[in-house]
């Protein structure tokens, strides 16, 4: 969610019971503008909080002029001092899929890879590195995965210019109440995968400047999003069931929207049994 609209947004997302204490909120209000200044971001988003066993990680994302470019991520343990995280690589993602269980809360904690997966450990030893995964790596990979699979924005909020970069759509007035209840009005805010696999009927209504992302309609498994209208329809809240804790809110017919993650950073692999 936008750092500037943090207080209002947090009250809209609070339906799940998770939020920030007044101390953390005040700290964010003070430190996020400084992050924006130091790193020369155009926008700063408060991404959310991953609860470890002994501590919590607070994550922020910074965006440059092209909103669809890979975002820089920062983490903090106390909402005041932010450290930049390196971008995620494919090796990181592959390695950390093996690691299960809660985050510990200490960024220098090391998971012993040889216990988890002996082959990967052997490969690492051959290439001259130690067979461990640092919690920081796991954090980077988890944030990247969550953003990729369940980071969503409403349709029409971002527009793609002919030259390539993506900007916020100034003419976006919000989704109507009817549109807000449909899964097809929300897009994954990441590199599209399924754009070309559409029937001609679907393509006829599309606008290439707005519909350049994947919509949520064809997410697998079906039903992995819970859409609720809270407060009698003033706020539409989408909660992901695949990554429990990801909450997206949007106030229909206004420009307010955003998503935030408050959770343990674990994928819900039992989802097919639970539906």
């Amino acid at each position: 969610m936008e750092a500037l609209s943090l207080p209002a947004a947090l009250s809209l997302v609070a339906g799940g019971g998770a939020g920030l204490s007044p101390e953390r909120r005040a700290a964010l209000g003070a430190s996020l503008p400084l992050v924006q200044r130091d790193y020369r971001f155009e926008r700063v988003w408060f991404w959310g909080c991953i609860q470890g066993v002994r501590g919590a990680y607070y994550i922020a994302e910074g965006l440059g002029p092209d909103r669809a470019a890979p975002r820089s991520r920062l983490y903090s343990l106390n909402c005041l001092d932010w450290s930049l995280l390196t971008p995620a690589t494919k090796e990181m993602l592959a390695l950390t899929e093996q690691v299960k269980g809660r985050f510990q809360g200490d960024p220098s904690f090391e998971y012993n890879l040889s216990e988890i997966n002996a082959e990967a450990a052997a490969r690492l030893i051959e290439s001259g590195k130690e067979p461990v995964i640092k919690e920081e790596t796991r954090l980077i990979a988890t944030i990247e995965q969550i953003d990729r699979t369940v980071g969503i924005v409403p349709r029409g909020a971002f527009v793609k210019t002919p030259l390539g970069p993506v900007h916020e759509n100034k003419q976006f007035e919000g989704l109507s109440l009817v549109e807000a209840k449909k899964l097809s009005s929300y897009f994954h805010f990441t590199e599209p995968v399924n754009l070309k696999n559409k029937t001609l009927l679907e393509k006829a209504d599309l606008d290439p400047s707005i519909d350049f992302l994947d919509s949520l309609e064809h997410d697998i498994p079906r039903g992995s999003w819970s859409i609720q209208l809270e407060k009698g329809g003033t706020v539409v809240v989408l909660r992901s069931l695949l990554w429990l804790g990801l909450t997206f809110y949007h106030v229909p017919t206004t420009k307010q929207f955003g998503y935030v993650y408050f959770g343990t950073g674990e994928k819900n692999l039992d989802l097919p049994f639970m539906l």
Partner: protein, 541 residues
């Protein structure tokens, strides 16, 4: 890599939707694509607006005409005003005589319900009567609890907390309630549940038990009547072999007011909607709830389709999960509660009272050591109850044969013992290397006003806080237990053993025609011999 977007500035004559460059790859030959794109664009511009009856194409044409006629200076800076002027000139009265139906979005209904919560109870006379008879029911201070939990970053936003406060007040006025507490919120797919934990006044609970008893007696009589009829019918028909399967005896649920049914729970989907009472929980439901993991939909009458089949619908599943969460995560500072009579510190002690001599330890100690917290709800045994019961003792209504068999089985079952009430939580087992509880202080910057916060790792979403003499438990979550391994559903039971095969049921090959003829001849000979014998016997007589 190919660039993004339909327009490639470096291509000669870059136009719309050239094949091979658009994100939607349609295979259309070149010039036709361009013509088609132009036609589409023009068609879009010619679309008539539903509100004003104008279309963009004509509007642009009019603007350009006006500009070329009038030739204003700095036309590009005032283009918006020119556009507005042209629109004003085009103004036509709305010709449609029908007014659009005034759509009432559902927002307003919900707002009305919330407003209804704010109505103050009328009828002061009723209030006085109630006060004379019983002590006033205690409405929990939801806002105060919300404030403390907010220090930890947990809780709903203030408006919702206040609505819940008012809804609880309504509940107390409607139902005969002795104590009441906001238990928490469980999220569901379509709607959420707001849950209140309540203790009814004593008279009310007895009435319910009597009603239930009468119902079961009536059903029992009906069953007996039907059984007699069935037996008569069976004697007439040939009976198939009776199954020797006897289902394990049903474990009775705990009486209202004890064990898992100590509290009664009311739920509603949103504050303002009517409160529904959840039925008491049975041990079979708890045992089954441990094996399944399902999201709640938000409708109490939704079926729960699982294997092993859950005995009940979503209301029962919700009640079972509430019972498990309460038993696992309701804690209080050690020493706050003590056993009612100091001599009887048995495991069966179910009641506790507040300790008047309790001195709250400092927050630092509460955070550092988990021995400062204790469970005040009895844990649930594997059987599904808090107090173990031997199922064979209950058989007063069964036949004598059943009793003998059940006693044999009863000897095999061992009595289960759980940890006694008021055990400290440091004895809770962790999972792998994750402790069962995480304790934190709400703030490190202002230690004199910080409070101790406990988060449960076994039931993510269960929190407890303590500050001085005040403490509270709450739950916000999806209602599932945390397990480090993935959930493995129960396998179906192995196929039952078949009837042991013996000569009487093994198939034999059908006799051939020759064998049949031989058999027939042999039979006739035997008959003839028998007749001769009879004749001989007859002659003898």
């Amino acid at each position: 890599e190919r660039g993004h977007g339909p327009y490639q500035p470096h291509e000669p004559g870059y136009g719309l939707d050239q094949p091979g460059y658009s994100p939607y790859e349609d295979e259309i030959p070149d010039p036709q694509a361009q013509m088609l794109a132009i036609k589409n664009a023009k068609a879009y511009l010619l679309k008539t607006s539903t509100k004003s009856g104008l279309n963009l194409y004509d509007h642009f044409a009019n603007i350009l005409t006006k500009i070329l006629d009038e030739q204003p200076t700095n036309a590009v800076d005032i283009i918006e005003n020119i556009s507005k002027d042209v629109k004003w000139a085009q103004f036509r009265k709305k010709m449609d005589t029908l007014r659009d139906e005034h759509l009432i979005p559902p927002t307003f209904e919900a707002a009305e319900k919330c407003k209804a919560l704010f109505v103050k109870e009328g009828g002061e006379e009723e209030h006085e009567e109630v006060e004379e008879e019983m002590g006033q029911p205690s409405l929990p201070n939801v806002m105060e609890t919300a404030f403390y939990f907010e220090q930890a970053g947990i809780g709903l936003n203030k408006d919702e907390s206040y609505y819940i406060f008012l809804a609880l007040k309504n509940l107390i006025n409607v139902q005969p309630i002795q104590t009441c507490r906001f238990w928490g919120k469980i999220l569901g797919l379509e709607m959420n549940y707001i849950i209140a934990e309540v203790q009814l006044r004593e008279g009310e609970e007895e009435e319910e038990i009597e009603e239930e008893g009468e119902e079961t007696i009536a059903e029992g009589e009906k069953e007996l009547g039907e059984g007699e009829e069935e037996e008569e019918q069976k004697e007439k028909e040939a009976e198939p072999p009776k199954s020797t399967y006897k289902p394990p005896p049903e474990i009775p649920k705990e009486a209202n007011g004890t064990g898992t049914n100590k509290y009664v729970y009311f739920v509603c989907n949103e504050p303002g909607k009517p409160w529904m009472k959840l039925p008491p929980v049975t041990p079979a439901q708890i045992v089954c709830a441990r094996k399944i993991k399902k999201f709640f939909t938000g409708r109490l009458d939704a079926p729960v389709v699982t294997f092993p089949p859950f005995p009940g619908n979503e209301a029962n599943y919700l009640r079972a999960q509430i019972a498990r969460i309460s038993a696992g995560t309701h804690v209080s500072p050690t020493g706050f509660y003590q056993f009612a009579e100091e001599e009887e510190e048995e495991e069966g002690a179910d009641t506790y009272e507040e300790n008047p001599e309790f001195e709250p330890p400092p927050v630092v100690e509460m955070v550092e050591s988990l021995t400062m917290w204790a469970h005040h709800v009895k844990g649930i045994l594997n059987q599904g109850r808090c107090a173990w019961i031997n199922p064979s003792q209950k058989s007063e209504e069964n036949e004598e044969e059943d009793e003998e068999e059940e006693e044999e089985e009863g000897e095999e079952q061992q009595e289960e013992r759980g940890p006694p009430l008021l055990t400290v939580i440091s004895e809770d087992e962790g999972m792998k290397d994750i402790p069962a509880w995480t304790a934190q202080a709400s703030t490190n910057l202002i230690p004199q006003y910080s409070i101790a916060i406990l988060q449960s790792n076994r039931w993510p979403g269960a929190y407890a806080f303590a500050s001085g003499r005040k403490f509270e438990n709450i739950y916000f979550g999806w209602g599932h237990k945390y397990s480090p391994e993935s959930h493995t559903p129960a396998l179906p039971p192995s196929a039952q053993a078949e009837f042991p095969s013996g000569p009487e049921i093994t198939e034999t090959v059908d006799p051939t025609v020759e064998e049949e003829m031989a058999f027939k001849v042999a039979q006739e000979e035997a008959l003839a011999e028998a007749e001769e014998e009879e004749d001989e016997e007859g002659e003898d007589d």
